[in-house]
Subunit: 228 residues, 2 copies
DNA sequence: GCGTGGCGTATGGTATACCAAGAACCAGCT
DNA sequence: AGCTGGTTCTTGGTATACCATACGCCACGC
């Protein structure tokens, strides 16, 4: 009964040039290790507009948006610079993350169904089965996935959006976070406890565990990660 | 010993047209009761550019920024619409506010000096001395001031920025929040308790009191404020 | 040798003209 | 009367040309 209708939808990309430029720039910045010393932190509107094949106007709008999000900084008659977050700013972001995720955990104990919570299990079990911290990247990636899942259970779109922004900014730091085995082990224990508290609907405990877990990460970054 | 240096600073306004357009639009939207039925929710780029006396370009950039902040919504070839937040969105914002301010309270117990905390006193005392909720506007205004002061004590610029954004969005709602005397009285008691916990450096308690206080407001809005 | 001033260049800011896609209106057919 | 097709107007999107200023180079003079 399907396909009786001719579906010609995907003809033009449909997205505005601004949106496409924005996506392209954002992923470009994301895939660049901006903390490498040789990183090119300067962008030029005219150069970019030529390379993208669009005029400066939509490009400028995309750049303005990135500026507002804090990914780049536009300085009049000086240039556009990719922003390196200072260590203090990173720590502040982790603090906000802790606040938001712990609130999400609180909400999750009140609004998430048992079935939804069950979906957390594979995210923590995968870890105990795998070789612990087999690869730094995998650990880091799965770790984020787990936290995003909890945040999703809170069912508060605003918290989801805000934390997504934070995670993006922290992407580059993860590369510098030496995730020792000890931290990974501790992390897994924490995660299991968190899931247990959530499923037991222990609101206060779940909130506290999430907060403490993330603030411990903050402490770790503060001590061992070198930036600037 | 001052004024030995000639200070000529304020020569030109210094601000870009985009920035000025942004400010003008933002305050214009702020001072408009967008929930009134007769409110004009539609904006037109060309009309605005004529009234401001600038071209569409900087105006568009300002509008794009407002769009990103969620104050307006730009729809291609349709128009620019001032956004009315839904009740759900307002409630979510209060939730995030609760999360962030409670974290700020936690930080305040750790990082704020006694002198800094002392500056909270006038903000709560003013209330008990004045006629309670003499005017709705005053209550609401002083209330926000108090909360912003606590957030400031947390000394986390990111939290300050995020909550300022939230407060702005909630400005219009305050007009619809019928602040009964009971709520005002309860609020004052809460505030005093919060200050006491902060000054006693009772981290967990301060955090909890702030969170509960704000979540109670959320509950109140949920029950008694009618939007949409 | 070094400071100083001018001039050219690079670069983001602004103005403006044109484009394309909806929406509304209207004529004409049924 | 109601539907259909097109024409026009509105409106945000895009391209482009020009403007203003910070920076750097270089010649000049002390």
């Amino acid at each position: 009964m399907a396909d009786t209708q001719l579906k010609i939808a995907p003809i033009g990309e449909g997205l505005s040039l601004k949106a496409r430029a924005y996506d392209a720039l954002k992923t470009a910045i994301m895939n660049m290790n901006i903390y490498a010393d040789e990183a090119e932190l300067r962008l030029d509107e005219r150069d970019l507009s030529q390379r993208f094949g669009v005029s400066r106007t939509p490009l400028r709008e995309a750049l303005a948006q990135l500026d507002q999000e804090g990914l780049v900084r536009i300085v009049a008659r000086r240039g556009i610079f990719i922003v390196r977050k200072t260590k203090t700013e990173i720590l502040d972001m982790i603090t906000v993350w802790a606040a938001l995720e712990s609130m999400a955990a609180r909400l999750a104990t009140q609004h998430a169904t048992a079935a939804e919570m069950a979906r957390l299990h594979p995210l923590v079990d995968k870890f105990s089965q795998d070789e612990i911290a087999r690869k730094l990247g995998e650990y880091s990636e799965a770790n984020i996935k787990f936290h995003q899942a909890i945040i999703g259970l809170g069912k508060c779109p605003l918290i989801v959006d805000l934390t997504n922004g934070l995670f993006f900014h922290m992407r580059a730091i993860r590369q510098r976070t030496i995730s020792e085995q000890d931290r990974a082990k501790r992390s897994i224990v924490d995660h299991k406890e968190i899931v247990a508290a959530l499923e037991a609907r222990e609101t206060e405990r779940a909130e506290r565990l999430v907060r403490e877990h993330t603030l411990r990460l903050r402490e770790h970054v503060d001590r061992f990660v070198d930036l600037d």
